[in-house]
């Protein structure tokens, strides 16, 4: 199983919850705080953090495609 992250950018509300949970995978743009995906296909060691980040995203903007 591997995982791909899809960020629905217009939905992002710049909360930064994902950055707090998974700082190696997400960051935020300086100008408006919108999330940036640093690693769209994170390794297995990061999958728990990424799932948590998707779950706590207040805008439901992080979609995980597992395959």
């Amino acid at each position: 199983m591997s995982m791909r992250i899809e960020l629905d950018e217009p939905k992002c509300v710049a909360a930064g919850q994902c950055v707090m949970v998974a700082p190696d995978v997400f960051d935020q743009r300086d100008e408006d705080g919108v999330a940036i995906v640093l690693d769209a296909e994170p390794g297995p060691e990061q999958e728990d953090e990424v799932r948590e980040a998707a779950a706590v995203c207040p805008a439901a903007a992080i979609k995980l495609v597992e395959r």
Binding site: A14, A15, G16, M20, D30, P58
Partner: protein
């Protein structure tokens, strides 16, 4: 556990159901929702949906395939009407009884209303669509209540060209939550955008032609939106033996009784990080508490206290407001970055000399992050 039941199919209930499965629970899982719609996201209702920027399909939280993968007994369009704690069953409006050996209560809240007929409220997608059909250039909207929901709706209605009157009983909108200084800034922004904001005004009833104030004055309106807070959906728990006091009373693990947990808007629990009992109607809390309740239900022996730092945001005009922490308990506010006059600032809220929250408007994420980290490190 073999028969888990989650009552409430919005953000908190969905998070609970998903977490149960992710944590390896393989038994029967029933998810009960009063609304007919599959789980959807509510914060955009008073923003993108009301503004007609999005259609309701953008709100769907999970695809049919994702829901199917959870292997749920999904009962939508049927509310819970009773709980038998001793017999371990939930009674539903269609007359059926659902047995459980583990229960998560996530029935949310409903809007508080005013006497009289014909006013809009803003809780469901149908509510938002009903109001947006009636908004447009020259239409006159009266919003009762200048909390975040009322203020967001007023901002959207101005953007659509409506004449907007915003009525608020307090002298300064949101002062109890964000303090007087910051509340004044929000008030100024609405007035600059042409909202007729009237504070210190008590509304007694909705009438056919508008709203009637306590002093007898009629404020005329084409449409009225009542946004004066909400009431936890706990009537179905009357007589169940659970303690209900403005929400389902829970301990620091979100447990209301053995094998019974509550999560989201309906839960009043003890947050040990702040040493306070709180009920939090924020989107993030719904997901986080749903997850925590599910984990603690599955592993009661190793239960982890649920001690989040609450978070909410609000979009009004071009102003993005973000708040972290529990601002309500504050006794002092300090502007620690930026300036109120520039509408770009970070306000730090303290109680008894300890940082309890921060609120930021228009600041870059890095300026906010240091304060968020400070909040997580604050000793209580």
């Amino acid at each position: 556990m073999k028969e888990a039941v989650v009552v409430g199919a919005s953000a908190a209930g969905l998070a609970a159901a998903e977490t149960l499965r992710r944590q390896g629970y393989a038994g029967k899982l029933t998810l009960i929702g009063e609304e007919l719609a599959a789980p959807y996201d509510r914060p955009p209702l008073s923003k993108q949906i009301l503004a007609s920027q999005w259609e309701p399909d953008r709100l769907v939280l999970r695809t049919e395939i994702e829901l199917a993968a959870l292997d749920l007994d999904l009962r939508l369009g049927v509310g819970a009407t009773g709980l038998d704690l001793a017999g371990r069953t939930v009674a539903l409006a269609d007359g059926t009884r659902v047995p459980y050996d583990g229960l998560v209560i996530a029935t949310g809240v409903r809007p508080r209303r005013l006497p009289g007929q014909g006013a809009h409220v803003m809780r469901t997608v149908d509510d938002a669509l009903a109001l947006r059909k009636r908004l447009g250039p020259g239409r006159r909207l009266v919003v009762v209540g200048a909390g975040f929901l009322g203020a967001e709706s007023a901002a959207v209605a101005r953007g659509l060209g409506c004449d907007v009157v915003l009525l608020e009983p307090a002298p300064v909108p949101l002062a109890h939550a964000v303090g007087t200084q910051v509340g004044q800034v929000f008030a100024e922004v609405h007035r600059e955008h042409g909202v007729d904001l009237r504070t210190g005004v008590a509304v007694s009833a909705v009438t056919e032609s508008g709203v009637r104030l306590a002093d007898g004055t009629l404020v005329e309106a084409d449409e009225v939106l009542v946004a004066v807070g909400s009431i936890p959906n706990t009537a179905w728990l009357d007589g169940s033996g659970l303690t209900v006091a403005d929400g389902v009373v829970c301990d620091e693990f979100s447990a209301a009784a053995p094998d019974v947990y509550a999560a989201g808007d309906v839960a009043r629990w003890h947050n040990p990080r702040f040493g306070e009992t709180m009920r939090v109607e924020h989107r993030t809390n719904a997901a986080e508490q749903g997850m925590a309740a599910a984990r603690n239900l599955l592993h009661p022996g190793e239960g982890k206290p649920f001690d989040p730092i609450p978070y909410f945001w609000s979009d009004q005009y071009d102003m993005k407001i973000q708040a972290y922490g529990y601002l309500r308990g504050h006794d002092s506010v300090e502007i620690v970055d930026g300036a109120l006059a520039d509408r770009r600032f970070v306000a730090a809220y303290s109680r008894a000399g300890r940082l309890v929250g921060v609120l930021a408007v228009g600041m870059p994420p890095k300026a906010i992050r240091a304060w968020r980290v400070a909040l997580t490190k604050e000793e209580r």
